[in-house]
């Protein structure tokens, strides 16, 4: 593998493109591979690799996390959620639990799970008790939730669904007129499920080169080479550099199951706002499993206004690729994985967390002279 990566790197350098170039990725897994393999330091200086909207935990609306906390605290239920969600902070007075983790410490029955099948098992273990599955995630994670319901979930299992589609956020960036990138590396595992075709609009509607990539450095470098070559030749298309796994149409059965169980709706992204057709909601046929219908909402409109990032946290800017993680004034100072301020430092998929854990220690907030932080 290492050899192939080195070959791609040679090819990429051989393209001889010297104008500044920004390539965006929209997947925490891609960002992690790029950071760990140190790809930023080996590619030519004029090429910037920008992490974009690739973290479902980071953009999960604050009011949904708040809702999950309140359901767990106030209703007679067991709440299960993917482990990453437990430490995500909401904006509440100091006296109230700020996260699911703190609600758990305050006595709520909250359990981290790694799979929808664990939610089913938890519900089956005590049919007399309601289990609420707080399910946030992009398509790759939402598909198994749909599959769980399509197969037939126990009556006492409810879903608080906060699923999101990845491509509408990229569409929003492109429609804004200032996308901030010249080429796109599309997410391999989202495309595995949904099919690479979802990303054709990037090329067709916006004339921006795109390539689906896997997670090894050679697959990522192959995708970077592809989009750079497309830029050089002025011939743009959607390339698939992860064809071993990503098939035309993706996983048709998984897509069918999502469609059977869920509708695509306009949805709120934390710190970003409503993005059209970017979220999933349970269809009427699955209303009996819908936690949003079973419980009255705790997240009233006044809460929606506070539903942004914690004060001082620039997560939304990071998610949109407008700034790098270490350009947040709190990065590495008030905010570290040990004491995270924002969701981008909490989640394993968050760019701040990934940059920190791969050794990036310099805070480069524009408002501060670099030498003042001694880094």
């Amino acid at each position: 593998m290492a050899q192939r990566a080195a070959d791609w790197l040679e090819e990429l350098k051989g393209l001889g493109i010297d104008r500044p170039l920004r390539i965006m990725n929209v997947c925490g897994g891609h960002e992690r591979s790029i950071s760990i393999a140190g790809l930023r330091s080996v590619i030519p200086d004029n090429v910037e690799l920008v992490p974009g909207p690739g973290c479902p935990v980071c953009i999960c609306p604050e009011e949904d996390v708040y809702e999950a906390i309140q359901i767990a605290l106030n209703e007679d239920v067991t709440l299960v959620a993917f482990g990453d969600m437990l430490r995500v902070p909401v904006n509440v007075p100091k006296s109230e639990p700020r996260s699911l983790e703190q609600a758990k410490a305050a006595g709520a029955d909250i359990r981290p799970i790694a799979s929808p099948t664990e939610a089913v098992r938890t519900a089956n273990a005590d049919p007399s008790r309601l289990v609420v599955f707080f399910a946030a995630g992009f398509e790759t994670t939402t598909a198994p939730v749909a599959s769980m319901l399509a197969e037939g979930a126990p009556d006492n299992l409810l879903v608080l669904l906060s699923g999101r589609l990845t491509w509408p956020a990229v569409a929003m960036l492109l429609d804004s007129g200032t996308p901030g990138f010249d080429a796109l590396v599309a997410p391999g595992h989202v495309a595995t499920v949904m099919g690479p075709e979802e990303w054709e609009f990037v090329v067709e509607d916006h004339d921006i080169p795109a390539a689906v990539a896997g997670f090894t450095p050679d697959s990522l470098l192959a995708a970077m080479y592809s989009v750079m070559r497309q830029l050089r030749d002025g011939r743009h298309f959607l390339d698939n550099c992860y064809a071993q796994v990503v098939r035309p149409g993706g996983n048709a059965e998984a897509r069918r199951q999502i469609d059977q169980v869920m509708d695509v709706v306009d949805a709120n992204w934390r710190g970003i706002g409503i993005i059209p057709k970017s979220g999933y909601a349970l269809r009427e046929a699955y209303a009996a499993h819908d936690a949003r219908l079973r419980f009255e909402s705790y997240a009233d409109n006044s809460r929606k206004r506070v539903g942004e990032m914690p004060p001082g946290c620039d997560c939304a800017q990071v998610v949109l690729g407008k700034i790098y993680p270490n350009q947040c004034r709190l990065y590495g100072l008030a905010c570290t994985p040990r004491k995270p301020i924002g969701p981008c430092m909490v989640s394993d998929e968050g760019a701040c967390r990934i940059w920190w854990s791969s050794g990036m220690r310099d805070n480069e907030w524009e408002g501060r002279k670099k030498d003042a932080v001694g880094g």
Binding site: T140, F215, N251
Partner: protein, 74 residues
Amino acid sequence: MCLAVPMKITSVDGYQCTCEAKGIEREVSLFMLQHEEIEPGDHVLVHVGYAIQKVSEQEAADSWELFDQVLAEV
């Protein structure tokens, strides 16, 4: 959360199967791959306990190499 891991199937029971990777065993749902022929010895890409795609042995090996690195970091 969106990173899937390749695993080798050791036994199949309806839509449930047991998978193995690097000495770790997991119960995995095949419900999203019900249109595929799946048997012990096959490799699948597993995400949050669900197989999302069948993959070749070579692809599995390549990804494991990557995960070794990732696991060493986190």
